[in-house]
């Protein structure tokens, strides 16, 4: 009975202690941080999303960025894996982030909702940035990141550089060769996705449009075969094994790949809406020229 009593007392005291440990910031009753609490120029930034990691690494001032997520250090998924080695790596858990005592956390819209809410309740400002669904949105995200970090000038410069390089990569292609993006479980990406725009900018016609897929959707294998694309683009295989990826080994997909100039695999430059997509576009452009030459 006494034990229960003391546990109860402790439980009641704990939230008060935690609240009191806040960095002296205003915490509203709902737990959301008031917008004026986001610092002008945060000095201790933690990013917990692969794409925001890379944007932050690109734009942050020296010493401004404390930590990026562990995915940013994986060469498979991150275009800036080497640079990420200079930062502490986090796993997106509220406790570890809290212990770093950041004054700003940048999350993606698919970051764990519970974590974001918890951080806000603890008085940490969190900025949530969505993924980029088009090349135009790459510029938008650069600007958003610049605003969050207080590095607007650097962001504008980055946008200018990006858009100039993008223009340089665009070619006039009178008769674009046809390509298909085909991934595990038979998923393809249409023109209204980042991958689709990369393909389009490189001068390919996306067969997903013919099949009526604008965003991300399933393309039956038969339709892929009937479309007879000049190139099939798939992700590199993930570690481990799965049945979902077996479709990429299907004789039909292999036969289609044999026809194009070597199997083409997407990689980390495709995943996030950062200026690194320019590498992907350049690769695809080179592929398109090879395919068109045949």
């Amino acid at each position: 009975m006494r034990l229960t009593g003391s546990i109860l007392a402790l439980a009641l005291l704990l939230p008060c202690a935690v609240a009191g440990q806040g960095h002296g910031r205003a915490v509203t009753v709902t737990g959301e941080v008031a917008s004026d609490a986001v610092p002008e120029r945060p000095g201790r930034v933690v990013s917990i999303n692969l794409c925001t990691d890379q944007l932050a690494m690109l734009l942050a001032a020296p010493g401004q960025l404390l930590s990026v997520s562990h995915l940013a250090a994986e060469p498979r998924s991150s275009s800036m894996a080497e640079q990420a080695g200079a930062y502490r790596l986090n796993h997106g858990r509220a406790e570890e982030i809290w212990l770093m005592q950041p004054d700003l956390v940048i999350a993606g819209s698919f970051s764990r909702r519970a974590t974001v809410d918890m951080l806000r309740r603890l008085g940490v400002p969190v900025v949530v940035m969505g993924p980029a669904y088009s090349l135009a949105q790459v510029s938008d995200r650069l600007r958003e990141m610049g605003a969050a970090l207080g590095r607007e000038t650097e962001a504008e410069q980055a946008v200018r550089d990006f858009e100039a390089a993008l223009e340089a990569l665009r070619d006039e292609v009178p008769d674009p060769p046809r390509a298909a993006i085909y991934d595990a479980n038979g998923y393809t990406a249409g023109n209204r996705t980042l991958a689709g725009e990369i393909l389009a900018t490189a001068g390919f016609a996306n067969i997903a449009t013919e099949a009526g897929v604008a965003g991300v959707g399933r393309l039956p294998l038969e339709l892929l075969a009937m479309a007879d694309p000049d190139a099939v683009i798939s992700s590199r295989r993930h570690p481990g094994a799965s049945r979902s990826e077996e479709i990429l080994d299907h004789p039909v997909v292999q036969a289609l790949r044999d026809r194009s100039a070597g199997a083409v695999l997407t990689d980390r430059d495709w995943v996030c809406g950062t200026p690194h997509v320019l590498n992907a576009i350049a690769e695809m452009r080179a592929l398109r020229r090879t395919v068109a030459a045949e």
């Binding site: 009937m226 799965s242 049945r243």
Partner: protein, 327 residues
């Protein structure tokens, strides 16, 4: 009896033909068949030979095997509720297959996939027979089946969740519900040898199953080797269910519904029911596979969903009937 086959054989052939001509590519019958047999340039040949043909063949092979195994298990256990999916054999085979894929064995050695699925199925049948056996009643059989199914499902889920591959965790649906989508001739060749072994063994058990109608003692006195019969049914079931599950996932209820529907037409004799159930099972799975492509073509509807939608109410009806007869 010949009238039964005069109905079943053309049914399977017609359904097979329809299956070959069903698909999102939407080509006409004549054109599709021409591409299949005459070949020629163009993507349609690829579609017919590498996508539709294996799919149709697998439906026939797997459906036939499931019908056959269901009839054999019912004949041996003398219980109309016995069925490889229901009593956990398919689930255990799925576990074996998943283990083969996730440990990388099947990547190193292609036949490891059907072999491990076979081992899983064998383990389940052996445990079932040890626990329920021919003298065990329906209750023991179903309870043992529930336990084995649950264990196999849990282990499968565990292995998939431990995989480093991001897609693996969601694949449990395929393994539990089954699908023939996007299979290739490779899968046909992987499954065929084991299925042929199983079919050959099943062809020899008909006489024994007929004799078992009178009970084990009478059957033994009529010259039936009961031990050989038991192992024949066990190994053959493991072979065909293992091979089928390895390539198509666990598909349930075919082995329950088909023998039950066809039993009156074979005069109740378990031996004659074997071939009829094989044909019936092939027809049922072909029909389900066609329906899956016609009903919701954009969604990836799993085969097992359809067979369960038909089979589960049927099973309830069977339980009700058995209960009324016992009362």
């Amino acid at each position: 009896m010949t009238r039964l086959y005069a109905f079943l054989v053309p049914l399977v052939l017609v359904l097979g033909l329809i299956s070959l001509c069903t698909g999102p590519a939407g080509m006409g019958v004549a054109e599709s068949l021409r591409a299949l047999f005459a070949g020629g340039e163009g993507p349609l040949t690829l579609v017919m030979r590498e996508i539709r043909m294996p799919r149709m063949l697998l439906a026939v092979m797997t459906g036939g095997s499931l019908g056959l195994a269901g009839a054999a298990m019912q004949g041996y256990l003398r219980n109309p509720l016995a069925e490889p999916g229901l009593i956990g054999v398919s689930g255990s085979a799925a576990f074996g297959a998943v283990l083969a894929i996730q440990t990388g064995l099947s990547a190193a050695f292609a036949l490891a996939l059907p072999l491990m699925a076979l081992a899983g199925a064998l383990a389940a049948v052996v445990i079932l027979l040890a626990m329920a056996g021919p003298r065990g009643g329906s209750l023991t059989l179903i309870l043992a089946g529930i336990a084995i199914s649950a264990l196999a499902g849990a282990l499968t889920s565990l292995v998939l969740n431990l995989s480093p591959n991001p897609f693996a965790a969601n694949e449990i649906v395929f393994w539990m519900m089954g699908s023939l989508a996007d299979r290739s001739m490779l899968h046909v060749w992987l499954a065929l040898p084991f299925m042929v072994v199983g079919w050959t063994i099943f062809a020899t058990v008909g006489r024994g199953l007929d004799a078992l109608t009178l009970g084990e003692d009478a059957a033994a006195s009529m010259g039936i080797n009961l031990v050989r019969l038991q192992w024949g049914v066990v190994i053959a079931t493991a072979c065909v269910v293992g091979a089928g599950t390895a390539v198509a996932g666990a598909i349930g209820f075919v082995g329950l519904v088909v023998p039950h529907i066809l039993r009156p037409f074979t005069g109740g004799r378990p031996g004659a029911l074997l071939l009829a159930s094989a044909l019936g099972g092939a027809a049922m799975l072909l029909a389900s596979d066609i329906a899956v492509r016609v009903i919701l073509p954009e969604r990836d509807l799993k085969l097992g969903v359809l067979t369960a939608l038909v089979g589960a109410p049927f099973f309830l009806h069977l339980v009700w009937k058995v209960r009324r007869e016992r009362a």
